[in-house]
């Protein structure tokens, strides 16, 4: 009995230490975003700043074009995510619910588009075909079965896909770096990178901008976490 307690204690210890390693850089960033340039690197670290300097945030929001970039990123994210959800779910429906000879060859193409289609195929397969048969007899067409029967049953998988697609498009850096050149059209990630190269020594505002670039995804993740993990653990990603 005692050994069990020791083992459990050890498990907690490792988990807590590991979680601290994960979170500490964010806490440092958050606290630095409220400090002025002299305070940012002061040691020992003042985790809770004596005075909260909100002017780092007002500087970023008022003096740079971060508002515009933020909006650009939001638009891009919504567009890409919607596109992913629609195209992947339609394709997954074809791969799991419609039988035709070339189907298994076509699925090869999806090898280049990880997660999306495969994740949904796993989910769709689990829905008994009797359900769609019954709907078909009731006169629902194929698209109706997809949109009114299958999709509502797959919320966890769709939540996972939304998180994957939203996070990926929001954080994407290389593609916008290559394709977007005009300043008013940049994404928040590009803006952050230019902020660093143009005002590299303004530590506080840079940290504030970094916080702003991270927060939306953290919020989406926290809102969808339970759905998302259900989606992952019941999908084909398991062993």
């Amino acid at each position: 009995m005692n050994r069990k307690k020791v083992v459990l204690g050890l498990r907690y210890l490792i988990i807590i230490v590991s979680s601290c390693c994960m979170i500490t850089p964010f806490l440092w960033m958050l606290s630095a975003s409220f400090k002025d340039n002299l305070e940012v690197f002061r040691f020992p670290i003042e985790w809770i700043p004596k005075t909260f300097r909100w002017d780092n945030y007002t500087y970023i929001i008022e003096k740079t074009n971060f508002g515009v970039l933020f909006l650009n990123s939001v638009k891009l994210m919504i567009g890409i995510t919607l596109g992913q959800v629609v195209t992947c779910s339609l394709a997954a429906y074809a791969f799991s619910k419609i039988e035709f000879p070339e189907r298994d060859t076509l699925i090869l193409m999806e090898a280049f588009n990880p997660f999306g289609v495969f994740l949904l195929v796993q989910f769709f397969r689990r829905i008994p075909n009797e359900l769609s048969e019954a709907a078909r007899i009731d006169g629902l067409n194929e698209f109706g079965i997809y949109s009114q029967i299958i999709m509502p049953l797959c919320k966890p998988a769709l939540a996972s896909l939304v998180i994957f697609a939203a996070v990926k498009s929001w954080n994407e850096f290389l593609q916008p770096l290559i394709y977007l050149n005009s300043k008013p059209k940049l994404t928040i990630q590009l803006g952050l990178r230019y902020l660093v190269s143009e005002n590299g020594a303004q530590y506080g505002p840079i940290m504030a901008a970094s916080v702003l670039a991270i927060i939306p995804m953290v919020i989406i993740y926290i809102l969808l976490q339970s759905f998302f993990e259900e989606g992952i653990s019941t999908s084909g990603l398991k062993g």
Binding site: F41, F43, F112, N171, I188, M217, T234
Partner: protein
Amino acid sequence: MNKAVAKTKRSHAIVRRNRCIGYLFLLPNLLGFFIFSFIPVVCAFILSFMEWDSSNPMKFVGLENFSKLLSDSTFKIALKNTAVYTLGTVPGIVILSMLLAILLNKGIRLASFWRAAHYIPYISSMVAVSIVWQFLFNTEMGPINQFLGMLGIENPPRWLSSTTWAMPSVILVAIWRNVGRYMIIYLGGLQGIPRELYEASTVDGASKLQQFRYITVPMLSSTTFLVTITNIIGSFQVFSSVYIMTGGGPGRATNVLVYLIYQEAFVNSRFGYASAMSVILFAFVFVFTLIQFRGKEKWVHE
């Protein structure tokens, strides 16, 4: 006899109808595949036989770009660095994420909080995270070296500004960022292991360690396969962290393949040469994607 003919006719009609509907459902996805994957890849292949700086007309040069690659020392270093990065990140991520998943699997309070703590690095912008780590790693002012100094370490590593430590630092950040993502996938894998296996082995007197060695690890093998391959493919394509944290330096210490391709194409405007490198990268990614797909097929077809 007539009945049978009618039946095959009907089933032909069904096949035709299904095929038609099937393609209709696949259309948006296939269009996306052609526009965003297929056509760019074909363009890169064609460009790899050309010389092109985007302002002067294209010139066909045959295999010249590829033969130049063979004697390009920077390309060789970039290949080597990419391999080092892959070998550094993949085993670390696989082992750590599996162990963390096992530790977090059952009977832990606040489990969803701990999971979120590990997942947040992965959903955070690589640009933002790289900037933060750049600050943390700062040689003189950074909290890491200040802390090491407090412990009495006199010459702490110069991290991102040292040719020896830059790559390990980049690898460390990659492990830190990705462990949580794969931990979640392993947690899914763990839920697929039937409890009876553990119960039966407990009856047989197996220790926890033996259970880990003979039940958990083998039962997770397909997850491990997936995690390993996805990770390898991802590591080949590392870019943002290098671009932000080191700019490929110091010297060429962290110059990786995608970074070099980016430099050649969009800084030096040597699109043909950069495309030749992309073709090599594509070949690597393609091989591992095929391997992954073979594995995936197994679980897609149950």
